[in-house]
């Protein structure tokens, strides 16, 4: 059967069951996982135009479970069957099987999945990508002479994943396109940078209008005269990406099972208790189609079919995001625990942890009080509208949260005054921030693209989003 995979991966797909069977001659449970990513990056800046085809970078990881520990070998030599069989045999022979929980390989399943896109990125040539970048570059440069260093980048990534255990043989073909505009402006004394990113599974991500390019350039120029926000506590309205990142950093990390089992998730003490206002609903769902953090199955071979509801109407739920290791050790300790589709790794030679995918606040329906963005601003008195996330950092044990945004817009008497703040840091104590949420819009926007690490490593693709929310945070 053809799965629309590159020929070498199609061949490897057929060989994986043999590797698993070889490992299971000694080990009670084995898996094989193959990852391969490739693509092309095109970039245009004043001194540099670059087109870099990223060739396929394959790798395989074979893992065996001894009843308490996963033992894995990982290698980039995917094309040598004898070598892979020798590695697998050596791995299986190196373990001593212990009494312990055993994984369930799941029902028999042989499936292939593929991203849906509007415009096939594979059909776009390097020269078309160059033209798009050159056009955006020229539009940015032409906008104002203070735009000293515009940059346009087109990133196309095609990622294949194969998973095999004794019941399951899964494969996926996921494409991601990102188009980024980065104008730098200078007045001779001050340098500032604006950023606009657009991500989608297909080439549609790069189909942005000249109006959007001009707005991106205009903001960069406006930043030159923007002020720093006076430090203090403010009523703030967060844009959907920042809203989602607040969800991600506040309860997302705290609901990753490996954080709980190592005692670093205070959320574990609050299951079933109120952690925010009743407007707070947070979910993580890798199966949300076509988002930057979307997956078809986890690296433990679990299909991404059900959202994990982390917070419902302000109450922390017992639904936790699990990877296979944490699930095996915790299922007897936490009755009802499910193995979710959150076990993910950065690269084939890295460990699998419980990770988020697409994490977002749910919007509030209009009939329940959900507002439009304009209504929320008009209803806010004095506040700051915070836009364009640059980074976030979690503290799931201390329940601190740190977010960085590119800009804030002053709101006085329910109206935007036109005053702009450049680079705003936001912090707060998570329960206080969530309890202070008193306004929320009615539309869901999960369109951001980014990556998330465990601390400062193990980066995986994620997205975050939600509606606009209004709350109180410290700004600086």
């Amino acid at each position: 059967m053809s799965h629309n995979l590159p020929p070498a991966l199609e061949t490897l797909r057929g060989f994986l069951p043999e590797l698993v069977a070889e490992a299971e001659t000694k080990a009670p449970y084995a898996t094989a996982l193959v990852t391969q990513s490739a693509g092309e990056t095109v970039a245009k800046s004043p001194a540099d135009e670059r087109t870099n085809p990223v060739p396929p970078r394959p790798g395989i990881r074979i893992s065996v479970w001894d009843g308490a520990t996963f033992h894995s070998v990982a290698t980039s030599r995917v094309d040598d069957r004898d070598y892979l069989l020798r590695l697998t045999r050596g791995l299986a022979e190196s373990i001593r099987v212990k009494q312990g929980p055993m994984p369930d390989p799941g029902a028999q399943l042989d499936r292939h999945f593929r991203s849906e896109f509007q415009q096939d990125p594979e059909q776009v040539t390097a020269s078309q990508r160059q033209e798009i970048c050159r056009h955006a570059f020229e539009q940015l440069a032409r906008f104002d002479k203070r735009i000293v260093a515009p940059r346009a980048v087109y990133v196309y990534e095609r990622e294949y994943r194969l998973f095999c255990n004794r019941s399951r043989l899964l494969s996926s073909d996921v494409s991601n396109v990102g188009f980024y505009l980065v104008p730098l402006a200078s007045d001779g004394k001050k340098q500032v940078m604006n950023f606009k990113g657009s991500v989608a599974p297909g080439h549609e991500a790069a189909c942005i209008t000249d109006e959007v390019i001009r707005e991106t350039a205009e903001l960069a120029v406006q930043y030159l005269s923007a002020e720093k926000v006076p430090p203090g506590e403010y009523r703030v309205i967060l844009d959907p990406d920042i809203t989602g990142t607040l969800a991600h950093e506040s309860f997302g990390h705290g609901c990753e099972m490996d954080a709980l089992m190592r005692g670093t998730a205070r959320a574990a003490l609050y299951v079933g208790r109120r952690v925010g206002s009743d407007l707070v609903n947070i979910v993580d769902f890798g199966g949300l189609p076509g988002r930057h953090g979307s997956i078809f199955f986890s690296d433990d071979g679990v299909l991404a079919e059900e959202p994990a509801v982390l917070v419902k109407d302000g109450i922390l739920q017992p639904t936790l995001m699990t990877d296979l290791y944490s699930y095996l050790h915790m299922r007897d300790r936490l009755p009802g625990l499910k193995l979710s589709a959150n076990g993910r790794l950065q690269d084939y030679d890295h460990p699998i942890y419980a990770r988020m995918t697409n994490t977002y606040f749910l919007p509030l329906a209009q009939e329940k009080g959900g507002k439009t963005k304009d209504e929320l601003i008009a209803d806010s008195g004095d506040a700051v509208l915070i836009e364009q996330l640059t980074s976030g950092m979690e503290d799931p044990l201390g329940w601190g949260v740190q977010l960085q945004a590119l800009r804030g817009r002053e709101i006085k008497g329910g109206k935007l005054t036109g005053k702009l703040y450049y680079q705003v840091g936001l912090t707060g104590y998570v329960p206080d921030v969530l309890a202070s949420i008193d306004g929320i819009t009615s539309e869901l926007d999960v369109s951001s693209g980014g990556s998330c690490g465990k601390g400062h490593k193990e980066y995986v693709r994620v997205s975050s989003g939600g509606p606009y929310i209004r709350c109180r945070m410290k700004l600086g």
């Binding site: 990881r61 980039s76 995917v78 005692g263 740190q402």
Partner: protein, 471 residues
């Protein structure tokens, strides 16, 4: 993969490509890395909750052990083409996944096509006369170990950390990850460079949890070293546990405007070239594209008067066993570069391309390459003097310090700080330290005492006179 076979195909094909496809390949470089990597992850206790409290049960087995033998061969192809009477140049980087001739040629063709389509000004490629520095970046003890012996050595280190942690009051290690890599690198270029060297790298992540009654706090230490023996388990645990206990006992942050003393981790984060804006402004590309504030010989803080010590910062990839030390980058020999000399911009980071564009090669300068270790000469002030009499605000660590590379602005959450007053000290956490990195240079005092941590070699205490804490 047979590296020599690939090299022979690359050398032959690169020359043959113009005739076949009308492309002019200006040169190539090949890099092979053979890696032996070992990862061990320990979860010494498994936590659950009972009656609103965490309960810990010992877990004697590792979470995961990964061994990863690997070999990668990367190639950079430089291409030239002419258009409108001008000569242009480009480059493209790729990886070979097979040594079969047809696969190697297909990759080369794809890269040559990409390289020849880039309308950039020409620049020189690697210098055949390059002499590579004999910088020590390999742990010879680790190099000699077989894969099972390497794994056993890593497990012994993990055991030593857990043993040291068991003796700490009120603190557990909740997660311990150790990554060790042995890497053999070979670089060969069309200009005749052929150089091979070994390196090793050890990265650890140790998560400490402190508990006092209902109070609980976490601190994660992430040390990096070239030699495993440079990570002393006892030192690592003593410092990490103390930090976790400090956060656990900390109170709310103060509102403050004025001097702040950065010590330890915070001094490291504030100065390290990775997190502050200097390397961005000293990058050849940023200077050439006129994005940078760089102006050789001019103060980095602009026209404001200097009230403190004039800061000097080196990017130094030659520190023996430094985590950010290297032999070469893109076949360019590593060298030390002074980025800031007594407060004034001095040298530029970058490779042959931007050194050529900026006319620095013509002046006889050798490219400095990318950043190395951050080296800051000691200052004239004893730490006790910087802490001074009266009330002093001290920051020990940040949640995630990053100054904006373009503006230098920062607003970073304080992970752990101290308020020192009349001989008493009390910890605080939270709040934002707000300021501008360049403005900070106008009023900075550096300690005579120094530290070396994760690629930072410099003063262990830094007093900055003009900061704000939003508590």
């Amino acid at each position: 993969m047979d590296f020599n076979k690939i090299k022979s195909i690359v050398a032959g094909s690169a020359l043959a490509l113009p005739a076949e496809r009308g492309l002019e390949v200006a040169g190539w470089s090949l890099r092979r890395t053979e890696t032996e990597a070992t990862t061990t992850i320990r979860l010494p206790g498994i936590y659950t909750t009972r009656e609103g409290k965490f309960v810990r049960q010992p877990n004697p087995h590792p979470r995961e052990v990964i061994t990863a033998p690997g070999e990668e061969v990367w190639v950079t192809v430089y291409g030239r083409h002419q258009a409108d009477g001008n000569e242009y140049m480009g480059e493209a980087v790729g990886q070979f996944v097979s040594d079969e001739e047809s696969a190697v040629k297909a990759t080369l063709t794809s890269l040559a096509t990409a390289a020849c389509g880039q309308p950039n000004k020409p620049y020189p490629i690697s210098d055949p006369g390059a002499l590579f520095p004999p910088v020590e970046i390999a742990d010879h003890e680790l190099l000699e170990l077989s894969p099972p012996a390497l794994l056993a050595r890593v497990q012994r280190f993990a055991d030593a950390v857990l043993t040291a942690a068991a003796a700490e009051f009120g603190t557990d290690v909740s997660n311990l990850e150790v990554f060790v890599r042995k890497i053999r690198s070979r670089i060969e270029t069309s200009t005749g460079i052929a150089h091979e060297y070994n390196s090793t790298r050890t990265d650890a992540e140790v998560c400490f949890i402190a508990r006092f009654g209902d109070k609980v706090a976490e601190h994660t230490a992430r040390p990096h070293a070239r030699r495993l023996r440079d990570l002393d388990p006892q030192v690592l645990v003593t410092a990490g546990a103390d930090h976790a206990r400090g956060i656990c006992q900390a109170g709310p942050p103060p509102q403050h405007t004025g001097p702040v003393v950065l010590v330890g981790d915070a001094a490291h984060d504030f100065m390290k070239l990775d997190y502050q804006p200097l390397s961005w402004h000293c990058a050849g590309r940023a200077v050439y594209e006129k994005m940078s504030r760089y102006a050789k010989g001019r103060p980095a803080w602009g026209d404001k008067p200097l009230a403190g010590d004039a800061l000097t910062i080196y990017s130094d990839p030659l520190v023996p066993f430094g985590p950010d030390s290297r032999v070469e980058s893109e076949a360019l020999p590593a060298r030390r570069a002074c980025l800031l000399k007594e407060g004034c911009y001095d040298e530029i980071l970058g490779g042959l391309r931007y050194y050529h564009y900026l006319g620095l090669l013509a002046e006889g300068a050798k490219p400095a390459g990318p950043t190395g270790n951050t080296v800051v000469p000691a200052g004239p002030h004893r730490t006790a003097e910087l802490l001074g009499p009266g009330r002093t605000i001290i920051v020990r660590s940040f949640s995630d310090f990053r100054a904006d590379p373009t503006s230098g602005d920062f607003a970073s959450e304080i992970r752990l700080g101290k308020i020192r007053e009349d001989g008493d000290e009390r910890h605080f956490k939270g709040g934002l330290l707000v300021g501008n990195w360049f403005d900070s240079l106008t009023d900075m005092k550096l300690s005579t005492e120094t530290m070396s941590q994760d690629g930072y070699y410099g003063p262990s205490a830094i007093r900055v006179g003009n900061l704000q804490i939003a508590g």
